[in-house]
């Protein structure tokens, strides 16, 4: 097993499958009367969030609590960070307080890697800038596997703002490891430079990709990260790359629609599609807790220096 979870590329096929299998057992906890396991009793997990987050923060918190770890949630707003404290000093403070694991979200790509060199505890990347979000990729893979029964050979279309999406990057890496075929779809301005070197195909034409897709993953257009006009208008974007009922009809019967959230209804996805039985959006949130429990258990449960 690996020491930290910084990138989806850290996981080989066996380790990723172990995480997914463990998550499947963790999921059975949801149906139990006592939704708590004693596994991480006495361990401290710090959630270090430098960026706004609802889903991921709450999900990690619930996961750690269900494993009986003590959870300290730290958001940069209202802390010494706003007084100018550096990441390193904050990290050393957490270390001194005895954090066994730090779950970090940061707007700077690579911040978790830096953190892993400064502290003794394990580091879990909960999203760094436009770089990676490995636990999201794991929960997406888990959702696909539980809905469609397999990952090997699946055809997955990831659609929208790939340029700013850490979810897309982590998903491409993990899905490739697990044997799925990924196609990235978006306007040329929203596909990153160097995308040819990724283990994925690219396309500018959503309608051409849909008939062959087992999974369509819609990405949010990240306006907050955009310093430029990447497309003419919301309406135009929506017409070419939004998923509505008409487009959904082009999908095979069994295909599912995913979205990592938060979604903007009416822009990348229409409300009726988001609420349809094909949509796994709410399921993804529930699976997120199980997958993060698996990650925390596998990284933190065992022997530790």
């Amino acid at each position: 097993m690996i020491t930290h979870l910084l990138s989806a590329a850290d996981l080989d096929a066996d380790t990723a499958t172990l995480v997914l299998d463990t998550a499947a057992e963790m999921a059975s906890l949801a149906g139990r009367e006592v939704k708590k396991l004693p596994t991480l009793r006495g361990r401290t997990v710090v959630n270090l969030f430098y960026e706004d987050s609802t889903r991921t923060r709450i999900s990690f918190e619930a996961a750690a609590k269900r494993l009986s770890a003590d959870v300290i949630t730290f958001s940069a707003k209202g802390s010494s960070v706003s007084k100018g404290e550096s990441l390193k000093d904050t990290a050393l403070t957490l270390q001194a307080m005895g954090a066994d694991a730090v779950v970090i979200r940061h707007s700077a790509s690579g911040a978790p890697h830096r953190l892993a060199n400064w502290i003794d505890g394990i580091v879990v990347n909960a999203g760094d800038g436009t770089h990676e979000h490995p636990t999201q990729a794991l929960l997406d893979a888990y959702t696909m596997r539980s809905r469609l029964g397999r990952l090997d050979g699946l055809s997955v279309a990831i659609v929208g703002d790939v340029l700013h999406s850490r979810v897309a990057r982590s998903n491409v890496l993990l899905l490739h490891t697990l044997g799925a075929r990924v196609t990235l779809v978006g306007p040329p301005t929203l596909l990153p430079v160097g995308v040819d070197s990724w283990p994925a195909k690219t396309s500018y034409d959503l309608d051409a990709v849909l008939p062959d897709a087992d999974v369509v993953m819609m990405l949010r257009v990240q306006r907050e990260r955009m310093d430029d006009a990447y497309f003419p208008s919301v309406r135009e974007y929506s017409r070419r790359y939004g998923l509505d009922t008409v487009r959904v009809r082009k999908l095979p019967e069994h295909a599912i629609v995913m979205h990592p959230g938060p979604m903007i209804r009416g822009m990348e996805i229409s409300p009726d599609v988001a609420d349809s039985p094909r949509s796994t959006i709410v399921e993804q949130v529930a699976n997120g807790v199980s997958v993060r429990m698996a990650v925390l258990y596998l990284l933190l449960g065992g022997a530790h220096k």
């Binding site: 057992e25 708590k36 449960g301 065992g302 022997a303 530790h304």
Partner: protein, 187 residues
């Protein structure tokens, strides 16, 4: 080049053959029927890995003897172990309970070897989180002694006095392709 055969001599001796193992399972099934008054409201929960097929076999024998269907499930205790920090994390196994749960039932935990008793303690902790059985009993194929906790089995297939340097290996067809119990020296 001739391979040294020293490995074979260290491989130990057979304690129970396949036939003997089958008889032991039959006897435990009879004892369960006797002690639980016809296995009423019983559930057999095997502890992975080899407790699970053992629980299924006991259920099958009880069905053959008395025509009663006793649910056989699995109870994984990995997440309740007290030695995770010492030995590292391991893969979590499946937990399958009877569809209507274990509340009010007579639960019989089934494992292959009873040794320190720590696995059973973990199983009792796990059970407590899953419901409230009316009664919990323990059935093991082999009791090898060296308890570290005040735990005893209600049904024992065979008591084997062992040294701590020895290890008891239970082989079951479902997992290992053959039925046998062996006593081996650990190097």
């Amino acid at each position: 080049m001739a391979h040294p055969r020293a490995v074979d001599s260290a491989a130990g001796k057979t304690i129970l053959s396949g036939t003997e193992l089958a008889r032991v399972v039959d006897r435990i099934a009879h004892q369960i029927l006797e002690k639980t008054e016809g296995a009423r409201e019983c559930a057999l929960l095997g502890i992975p890995t080899r407790g699970v097929p053992l629980a299924r076999r006991l259920a099958a024998r009880i069905r053959a003897f008395e025509g009663i269907d006793v649910p056989a499930g699995a109870l994984d205790i990995t997440l309740y172990r007290d030695d995770l920090r010492l030995r590292g994390t391991r893969a979590v196994g499946p937990t399958n309970l009877p569809p209507d749960g274990i509340d009010g039932r007579q639960v019989i935990l089934v494992d292959d070897v009873l040794f320190s008793g720590r696995t059973v303690r973990a199983a009792l902790d796990a059970l407590k989180d899953l419901g409230r059985p009316r009664l919990v009993q323990l059935a093991v194929l082999v009791d090898r002694g060296h308890r570290e906790l005040p735990i005893r089995a209600d049904y024992v297939g065979k008591n084997i006095p062992t040294a701590l340097t020895e290890s008891v290996r239970v082989l079951l067809t479902e997992v290992d392709g053959a039925d046998e119990v062996r006593l081996e020296a650990t190097s």
